[in-house]
């Protein structure tokens, strides 16, 4: 048995030995390097571009600007459905007449080295006519605001109106209402993006190293933009140092680097540097909610009334409006609230375009909802956990239809026993246990958050499993691996079904050259989608092996059995044949099964190989989680110290407890970054003021509190054979809410703490420090 065991990740050894191969580790003969010249302005017209001096620099091979792009080139398409038509806001790979954010690509410089390309960048002369930058979404939609696009700055306005919200509000015994905002921040993978494109002009073949996440989708998008056949492009995922949703989407560079490689007829490599990353990667979050929550006298929440404004940045990218869409669809969370209304606006500003970042929309919505619920509990004078418990969706109400939809799919919670998990979590944490309210002048507070995290979204996933004549198993997966440990868990599933040890199984992934179709890795989906595809293909391999052995040895399939990587007949001491033996038998060239051509081909001469594609389930699998934390606050300075952090969640079934725990702990740390530190801040001119790691602060090892993950396997997902639910995003999802609630509890304040990040200054403001000293 391999599934469910704490198998050490097979990836770790190569990473720990420094033998991982990342994009920057790849070189090719005659390779040159690219550097992107980016807009220094948040909003400006490009009056003229003069490349003469830059092109004259020794070592420069080419400089491409918007004028060099093919006539009629379409902008980069959104890959998922949106609320309304967002096509007027799509981005072209290079700006032509106008730039709309600092960091927008204007030119690509190809030179012998990156350093020479950067020298050349300083010689490019551009006449900009600066325009007023629009950086505040509230002002962006006022009449007379400078239009960023011809279609105006309000890209979309939509919402849901379920039940009778006005009625519930008018009858409410208690109402809490406040505004909550979540700052712009995003993924900061340790490895920045990178691409190496190599074009074989004679054969019209294009190889690209560096894509990840959704390589098949990206390959198809690029094929359409370049007018090439899809199979003429091969995208190859090397080792990847993190994505968290941001890396691996189709960005302007994903067109530009192959495009220039085809132009200069040499391999071109581009490695995003950190300063570029800050301005170029999809930003995320950046939502402002106004929440009204109503309850009756019994502490039953009767309505959520929500307004949501999301700052989309300057263009709509591949993710469309999925962040506000998910936030709106899932806002009611784990509560049985039928009166729900949301009015959502998506607004364009002169900032970097946005996309998803781990727990997209959910980190945001959970913060707003759970802070509002704490306010409500305080008003009602009842325990904060008790208020939540009274309102949880009951197990007999599953599957629960929220009544909303996101990316044109209804929001459904497939299974779960929320009250049971909540009770166990509260008990395990000791929620009700009294605690010291003050320690050496610091105030201690306790907070919690309950949430449902969707997982396993997307239409399909596929794998092909090949067993070779030595019994070694290769899994060719359509999903990607950016450090999560997919090579391990997918191998575990095959190991379990095929009864083959892990050492004999290899997982390859993220390569359009090894499997025809692939879904990719996002939305905590690989354990579910990739995992079930491996399971399905493994079952297929087992059946194929049993059938072949049955035919060859004349034994009924029912009397055969797959154990220890071999076919056994009853309880005999020797196996009939190993899987490797079956693979040899099924090789197309095998004389034993070849018959004369006149007899036609027999069906099983294509190796011990099975391809399986599994279809996704509309709403994936819902994970219920409860977060709790104790936080100390210095009331004199606003300094904080998280003493302990706890996450309880029901993942249905664990494939590998080590990886599950790692996902949760790592996710919490990212959530703490978003809660206390990280912010992509802009000034009024549209300049990014936190564009280096000196200003954009991430948690470091000193800031990580003890984090405990309590993982339940109470309610297996009903929507997949393995019963697994995705665990990638439950870690960060509730951190802002939990910490905000804990600090409010520590300071006994019912104002403030509604704006992330929770800086020491904002923490003090919540108690009105302004009058002090």
């Amino acid at each position: 048995m391999t599934i469910g065991k704490p198998v050490v990740r097979v990836e770790d050894e190569r990473f720990l030995r420094g033998e991982g191969r990342f994009t920057a580790d790849y070189t090719l003969p005659f390779m040159v390097e690219a550097h992107i010249f980016r807009s220094p302005y948040g909003h400006a017209r490009i009056a003229a571009i003069n490349l003469d001096a830059a092109l004259a620099l020794k070592g420069v091979h080419a400089i491409v600007t918007g004028a060099d792009l093919p006539e009629g080139l379409a902008p980069i398409q959104c890959r998922i459905p949106t609320h309304g038509d967002l096509s007027p806001y799509l981005q072209y790979p290079l700006a032509r007449d106008k730039v709309r954010y600092v960091g927008e690509p204007i030119a690509v410089i190809v030179a012998d080295t990156r350093a020479v390309a950067e020298d050349a960048a300083e010689l490019i002369e551009i006449d900009f006519d600066p325009l007023p930058a629009v950086t505040d979404p509230a002002r962006a939609i006022e009449p007379g605001a400078e239009p960023i696009h011809e279609s105006g700055n309000l890209a979309g306005r939509w919402g849901f109106d379920l039940g009778d919200v006005p009625g519930a509000l008018s009858e409410a015994a208690f109402i809490a209402s406040d505004s909550f905002s979540i700052q712009r921040h995003s993924a900061m993978p340790m490895e920045t993006r990178g691409l190496l494109a190599s074009y074989d002009a004679g054969r019209n073949l294009l190889d690209i190293y560096g894509p990840t996440k959704v390589v098949h989708t990206n390959r198809n998008m690029l094929a359409a933009m370049l007018g090439m056949g899809e199979a003429e492009i091969r995208m190859i995922e090397p080792d990847v140092g993190g994505s968290f949703g941001a890396r691996g989407e189709f960005y302007p560079e994903d067109y530009l680097i192959p495009f220039v490689a085809m132009r200069v007829r040499r391999p071109v490599r581009w490695i995003e540097d950190r300063v570029e990353h800050f301005a170029a990667i999809n930003h995320s979050r950046d939502c402002a909610f106004h929440v009204t929550v109503a309850a009756n006298r019994d502490g039953i929440i009767t309505a959520f009334d929500v307004k949501l404004v999301t700052d989309m940045g300057s263009y709509i990218r591949t993710h469309g409006d999925v962040v506000p869409s998910h936030a709106a669809a899932s806002f009611p969370g784990p509560y049985r609230v039928r009166n729900y209304r949301i009015d959502a606006m998506t607004v364009m500003t002169n900032k970097t375009p946005t996309g998803t970042y781990r727990a997209p929309g959910m980190f945001e919505a959970n913060f707003a909802r759970e802070r509002a619920i704490d306010r409500l509990a305080d008003k009602m004078g009842i325990d904060r956990a008790e208020l939540r418990r009274r309102n949880l969706i009951q197990p007999e109400e599953m599957p629960w239809y929220v009544g909303t939809e996101s990316v044109k799919r209804p929001t459904i919670f497939d299974s779960g026993n929320f009250p049971l998990i909540m009770d166990r979590a509260l008990k395990a944490y000791g929620w009700d246990a009294p605690f010291e309210r003050e320690v050496n002048g610091w105030k201690r507070g306790r907070g919690l958050c309950a949430l449902v995290e969707p997982s396993g979204l997307g239409p399909f996933e596929g794998v092909r499993i090949e067993v070779d004549q030595h019994g070694k198993v290769q899994i060719f997966s359509g999903s990607s691996n950016q450090g999560q440990g997919h090579e391990t868990i997918l191998a575990q599933i095959a190991s379990e079904v095929l009864t083959v040890p892990m050492e004999k199984i290899r997982v390859r992934h993220g390569d359009t050259g090894i499997i025809t179709f692939g879904g990719g890795t996002y939305a905590s989906r690989t354990a579910i989608m990739g995992g079930n595809a491996v399971h399905s293909a493994s079952v297929g391999v087992r059946q194929k092996a049993l059938d072949a052995a049955s035919r060859k040895f004349g034994i009924a399939v029912e009397d055969l059995d797959l154990r220890e990587g071999a076919i056994w007949h009853g309880h005999r001491n020797e196996p009939v044949v190993t899987l490797g033996g079956i693979a040899r038998m099924l090789m197309p060239g095998n004389q034993e099964i070849l018959v004369s051509p006149s007899a036609g081909n027999i069906p099983d001469n294509d190796g011990l190989v099975v391809t399986s594609y599994v279809r996704g389930v509309t709403a994936g699998a819902a994970v219920f989680a409860v977060h709790m934390a104790d936080v100390l606050v210095d009331p004199e300075t606003g300094e904080t110290k998280v003493e302990r952090y706890f996450v309880a969640c029901d993942v249905g079934r664990q494939l590998n407890p080590l990886i599950v725990e790692g996902q949760i702990v790592g996710g919490v740390v990212q959530g703490l970054g978003g809660t206390f530190l990280e912010e992509l801040a802009y000034n009024e001119d549209g300049q990014l003021t936190t564009g280096t790691f000196a200003d954009y602060l991430m948690p470091n090892v000193y800031d990580v509190p003890p984090i405990t993950a309590l993982v339940f396997e109470e309610s297996p997902a009903l929507t997949n054979v393995l019963g697994v639910k995705g665990v990638g995003e439950v870690g960060p999802s509730g951190v802002g809410a939990t910490i905000g609630n804990a600090i409010a509890n520590a300071l006994a304040t019912d104002t403030g703490l509604n704006k992330l990040p929770l800086t020491p200054e904002r923490i003090l403001q919540s108690t009105g420090f302004g009058g002090l000293q």
Binding site: R114, A115, E118, D119, E122, D273, R274, V275, E636, T637, G638, E639, F676, L677, E679, A681, T689, T692, A694, L697, P699, N700, Y702, D703, T759, P760, E761, L764, F769, G770, L772, Q773
Partner: protein, 291 residues
């Protein structure tokens, strides 16, 4: 993030280094541990024509006793100073300051002299040297000159080091009978402070304060010397009540730094808190010395 082209020299003696500075004048910059200059080069915020690397000038590193003083070579690594028994024993305030400088990897490269010459208003070491009334020894073509710390730092990233000069060493007078205190607050451990405070205090046998120094950092281009606070404490028993009263004399009008993430009002709020804590710590340690 590739630096603009520059010429690079790695002299092994101070004379050689000074010769290069003389030869290249304002086109040249010296590099010490590189913790500030290298990022500035990579961002092309600094673009010297010539870099004179002091890392191979062995004579510039080291900590030595010299009578009542310690002489600290400018190229002494922060990590080395932090681990130095001499520093532990004789310059506790420097040690407390260094504990707040960056992280082990940055301290392994970063130098004392580099940080002092860089003159970041939020940096710990320049403030500690101000608190110690240390002397900066500058070497130049015409010989050496000694500059008191008070006259050394002129403003943000600005010192009195003239063209052709190199900060050679820092001389700090050792006061074995004093207690010291250091507190700072930063958004994240190891980062530059939002405000910081360094204190020194001596007590007589009766526990009366006979000497006090207080510096507030990260609130203005140059760390603030709070002499009024110190004077209010001299002659008094430094109880918490007295210290609370004394820190009210911090000249909050001299605070300048104000930005969206860390407002002037917030700095004015926390600086007296940090000052109080630093003075309390110094008083307590000074008290321990008497026993």
């Amino acid at each position: 993030m590739k630096p603009a082209p520059f010429d690079y020299f790695a002299p092994t003696t101070l004379e050689e280094a000074l010769g290069l500075l003389k030869q290249y004048g304002s086109d040249a910059r010296v590099i010490a541990g590189g913790q500030s200059l290298v990022p500035m080069l990579a961002l092309r915020l600094a673009r010297p024509e010539v870099i004179v690397d002091l890392n191979r000038v062995a004579a510039l590193a080291g900590i030595a006793e010299d009578g009542e003083s310690l002489r600290i070579g400018a190229m002494t690594r922060q990590a080395r100073a932090l681990a130095s028994p001499l520093v532990h024993e004789k310059l506790p305030l420097l040690r407390h300051g260094l504990e707040n400088v960056g992280h082990p990897p940055t301290r392994a490269r970063g130098t004392l002299g580099g940080s002092i010459a860089h003159a970041d208003p939020a940096a710990e070491t320049p403030m500690v040297m101000l608190a110690y009334r240390a002397t900066m020894v500058l070497a130049g073509g015409a010989g050496e000159r000694a500059v008191p710390a008070d006259e050394f730092t002129l403003g943000t990233f600005d010192t009195c080091i003239a063209e052709g000069e190199i900060l050679k060493e820092i001389v700090v007078e050792v006061r074995p009978d004093e207690g010291t205190g250091f507190f700072e607050l930063s958004r994240r451990r190891g980062d530059f402070a939002m405000a910081s405070a360094a204190a020194r205090m001596r007590l007589d046998a009766a526990g009366t304060c006979i000497e006090a120094h207080l510096m507030i950092g990260a609130v203005a281009p140059v760390p603030l010397r709070c002499d009024a606070v110190a004077e209010a404490l001299v002659g008094a028993i430094p109880t918490e009540v007295r210290i609370r009263e004394a820190v009210r004399l911090i000249d909050l009008d001299a605070f300048e730094f104000d930005n969206p993430e860390i407002s002037l009002a917030y700095r004015r709020h926390i600086a007296p808190v940090l000052a109080r804590r630093a003075l309390m710590q110094a008083a307590s340690r000074a008290g321990d010395l008497r026993q």
